[in-house]
Amino acid sequence: MFQALEGRWPETSRRTFLRGCLAAAGALVVESCGGGASGPATSGAGPVRAADSHLAPPDLPWTDPNIPPAYFKLPSVFNATSGAPGAGGPLTEITWFSDEFSPPPPPLPGNRYWTELNRRLGVKVTPIWGPADQASYEQKFAAILASGDLPDLVLFTGTTGTAAQAQALQQGAFTDLTHHLTGSALKDYPNLALIAPKIWQNSRINGKLYGVPRGRAIPGGTLLFRWDWAQKVGVPLSQVTTSDAFRDVMVDFASHDPDGNGRADTWGIPDIQYTYGYFAEMFGAPNSWRLSKSGGLTKDIETPEYRQAIAYARDLFQRGAFHPDAPTQTLAAHYSLFEGGRVGAYMDALYASGQTRSFLAQLGLKDPIRHLLPPAGQGRKAVTYNAVGYNGVVMIPAKVGKDDAKVRQLLRILDYFASPFGSEEYIFLQYGIEGVHYTRAANGNPAKNAQGTTDIGDLFRLLTPPNVSYSAASQSFSDTEQEAWTRLLDQAYHDHFKIGIDDPSIGFFSSTALRRSPALNQAIQDGVVGAISGRTSMSGFDDMVKSWRSQGGDQIRKELQTAIQQHRG
C-alpha cells in the first residue's frame, strides 16, 4: 500500500527511471543510474542499523543498508521528529519548485491538510508547481531562472536535473551543501541520515553534495514474469536460468496459448524500448559505462556483450516472442498489456511490482508473478543494473544558501518530509488527518478517502523517504498473503543486489553530455529498436555505434574520464 503510492509512477518519472537503469537512453547529464565506483559507504552518511531509534525494526533481517528494509505490517507508531522544524528560523514562508503529477490541491483557507502541514512545519509553504513532463518542466524552470525569481527549494528531476538546471549548477546557481550533510553535521537531520549510503554517494556531483536526494531503492529494475504461464507451457520457473530456456519460454507464451482461452492473443514481451536493457543484463554488458583499471571508459553499446544481447533479442523477435506492436509500443501499453494478462513478462522497478500484482488480482489471479533474475547469456555471466536510487534531488539556490541559518532551517524542514515509514509524521504526510482524510481499516491500515486525495495532492512529494519492502497493496489480500509477498520481494531485492553493478559515470559532469545526450540517446534507441525489430540489419546497429562516437560519444567519454580522474577517491 505504501509503496503503491509511489510505485505507480506516472509516465515521465518511470520512463526516466526505466531508461536510466536499463543502460539505454538515460538521464540528461550522465546516462544510467548505477552507484558510485566504490563499495560500501565512503564519506557521507554512515550505514544505519535498525538499532538507531529513527527506524522501526524491520520484520526480516536487514543485512545491507542499501537494500530496503522489509515489513509485513505497519509498525507501531513512533515519532521521527520533535517540534516544528521551521520554527525559529529566518524564513516564514517557503516556496519550492517541484514536479506535480496530481491535480492541484485546493487553496489554503479551505484545505485542512495544507493548514495542518503549515502548522506542523512552523512555516507557510507555497509550492510552485512544475508540470511533470520533462520538456515543460525544463522550460518553466528556464523561464523562472532567467527571470531571477528562484524559490527557496528547487527539485532537480531525474538524476541531475534538466539541462538548464545542470548548466545553472555548474555556473554556481546552487549552494554547495557538502559540509552540511556529511559527517557529524548530518546528525542534526536524523531522518536524512537514514537515506542509504549509496544513494547519498550517487547524488554527489563532481564529488560535492548539492542537495538532498528523494530516495527510492538501489536495486533497480526487474523482469516481472508470469510463472503460472511458464508452468502451463511446461517450462517451470526453476529451469529458466539460461538464455536458451528464456527464449523457448517466451516463444511458447506466444504460440502455446498459456491463458487457455483458445485465442492467439498472448505474447512474451510487450515492447522493445523499455525491455532491451534486460537482454544487456543477461549478457553481462556494463551498466552504461565500463571503467577500466587504467581509468578508461567504454560505453555499453561498444562492448561485444551488448552486441551479442542485441543479436539474441533480434532472434527472439524473429521467432515471434514479441508483441506485434513491440517496435511502437507506448509506455502505457507496456504496463497495460501485462496487467491485462496479454503478455508474460515486462520490466519494471522492483518496488512497483506490488501494484502490478493487485492489477492481476482483478483478473482473479492470486499469485502469478515472480521477479525473474536475468538468465545467463551464452558464455556470459548475467548481471543486474543498480539504480541511482533516487528520483530527484532537492537543492537550495545560491542566493538563499548564502545565509547559513536559512540553510539549516530548510534542511530541518526536509528532514521532516523524510520521516521514515511508519512514523507519525509519515502517516500524516501520506494520509492526512485521521477521520478527515483517511480512515482505518479493520487491520489498522490507513485508507485514504476522496477528501484526502483532493486535499493532499502532491504536497508531500517534495521529498519522500526511501522505499521499504511492504506490500499491503490491496485489501483483497489476506495478511498471510501480504507476508508471503514481502518475503518474495525482499528475496528478490537481495538476489538482484548480489549481482548488481554500478554505473561508474554517475555523479560526474560532462558538458557535451548535457547538450547532446537527448539526441544521442534517441539515436541509440533508434539503432537498438531497428536492429531488434529487423527494420535494419545488425550492421545498422554497428553504424549507430560509429555515429554515436563521432556525434559526441567520444567527446563525452573524454570529458567523463577527466572528471572521474579529478574527483576520484
Partner: protein, 317 residues
C-alpha cells in the same frame, strides 16, 4: 446608372489620394484610430520579445541571462549547417510539407464544396456538426486510436489474422511514415478546415448562380466560373500563409511516432530543435533555427505574393 456611380466612386478615390502627407493623414484619421491599438499590441507583445532572438548569436544560459552569456557570433548557425542530422531533418520536413500542400491543403476545400452542394439544410448541418470532432482530440489519443485500428495488434490486423492472411504494420513502416502523417492530419483537421471555406462560400452572391443558370451552365461550369473564383481569395490567402510556414509540419504528432520508425525517416526540423534546443538546453541553436525558418518563410511569402499579384489576384499585402 451603375456606371455613373462607379465613375463617381472612381473620382472620389482619386481625390482621396491627393494632398499633402499631413492632409491625407488627417483625412484618414479614423483609420488610424482603428488600427493603431492593434498595432501597439503587436509591437509590444510580439516585437519587443523578438529582441530575445539575440541568443541565436550567443552561448546562452538562462542563469547568466542575455547580458552575461558569451557571444559566439555565427557559431550556432555554423553548427547547425554542419550537423549530420539536420540534413535528414530538413529533407523530411520538406517532403512532409510538400505532401501536405498537395494532399492536405485541398481536402477541406473539396469537402466544403461537397457539403455546399447538399440540398437538405438539416443534413448538411448535422454533418457539419460532427466532422470537426477529431480536431479536438489531442494527438496522444489520436495516435493511440490509430494504433488500435492500424497497429500490429489492431483491429485491421486482428481481422487479417483471423482470416489467415499476412498482417501489415502500417505504423512501424519507415517508408509509409510521411504519408501516414499526412493521412492522420487530414483525418484530424479536414472537418475543422471546412469551416472557413463554408463561410467563404456563403459570401458568394447568389445572383451570380442565378445568372449562370440562365446562361444554361452545368454544375461543372458553375463550379469553375462562380464557386471557385468566389473562394479564390481565401484559398490564395491560405496558400500563401502556408508557404510562410513551410518548415513547420506539426510537432507533437511526429514526436510521438518518430521512435516507431527511427530518426532517418521520422526526424523533422522541429523535433530536431526539441532534442537539441529544448531538452538539451541549447537555446542558442533553437533561436538560430527559428531565425532561419523565418527568413525562408519571408522569402516564400514575398515571392508568392508577388507571383499572385502578377497573375491579377489580390495578394496578402
Amino acid at each position: 446608372m451603375a456606371v455613373g456611380r462607379a465613375a463617381t466612386a472612381g473620382r472620389v478615390e482619386r481625390a482621396r489620394r491627393a494632398g499633402t502627407l499631413r492632409a491625407r493623414m488627417w483625412r484618414e484619421r479614423w483609420m488610424y484610430l482603428l488600427f493603431l491599438p492593434g498595432l501597439a499590441y503587436v509591437v509590444l507583445f510580439r516585437y519587443a520579445p523578438l529582441i530575445g532572438n539575440v541568443i541565436a548569436f550567443q552561448d546562452y544560459s538562462p542563469y547568466l541571462g542575455f547580458t552575461d552569456s558569451a557571444w559566439v557570433g555565427l557559431r550556432n548557425f555554423a553548427d547547425l549547417l554542419t550537423d549530420a542530422d539536420v540534413g535528414a531533418a530538413l529533407v523530411n520536413t520538406l517532403v512532409i510539407s510538400g505532401l501536405q500542400l498537395v494532399l492536405f491543403f485541398p481536402a477541406p476545400i473539396a469537402l466544403a464544396l461537397l457539403l455546399n452542394s447538399l440540398m437538405t439544410d438539416a443534413v448538411r448541418r448535422a454533418i457539419q456538426s460532427v466532422i470537426y470532432l477529431p480536431h479536438f482530440i489531442g494527438w496522444v489519443i489520436v495516435v493511440s486510436i490509430w494504433q488500435q485500428v492500424l497497429g500490429g495488434d489492431g483491429f485491421v490486423n486482428q481481422l487479417l489474422r483471423s482470416q489467415g492472411m499476412h498482417t501489415v504494420n502500417v505504423m512501424a513502416n519507415p517508408d509509409l511514415f510521411k504519408p501516414l502523417m499526412v493521412a492522420q492530419d487530414i483525418w484530424k483537421e479536414v472537418g475543422w478546415g471546412t469551416i472557413i471555406f463554408l463561410a467563404a462560400l456563403t459570401a458568394i452572391d447568389v445572383s451570380l448562380y442565378e445568372a449562370a443558370a440562365i446562361d444554361g451552365a452545368t454544375w461543372w461550369r458553375r463550379l469553375r466560373h462562380v464557386t471557385l473564383p468566389g473562394i479564390s481569395g481565401v484559398v490564395v490567402l491560405l496558400l500563401i500563409l502556408r508557404l510562410g510556414g513551410i518548415l513547420t509540419v506539426g510537432f507533437e504528432q511526429i514526436l510521438l511516432q518518430q521512435p516507431n520508425v527511427g530518426a532517418r525517416a521520422g526526424q523533422v526540423l522541429d523535433t530536431f530543435v526539441y532534442f537539441r534546443g529544448v531538452v538539451g538546453g541549447d537555446w542558442g541553436l533553437g533561436a538560430a533555427v527559428g531565425l532561419l525558418k523565418g527568413a525562408l518563410g519571408t522569402l516564400l511569402v514575398v515571392g508568392a505574393n508577388w507571383a499572385v499579384k502578377r497573375l491579377g489576384q489580390e495578394g496578402v499585402f
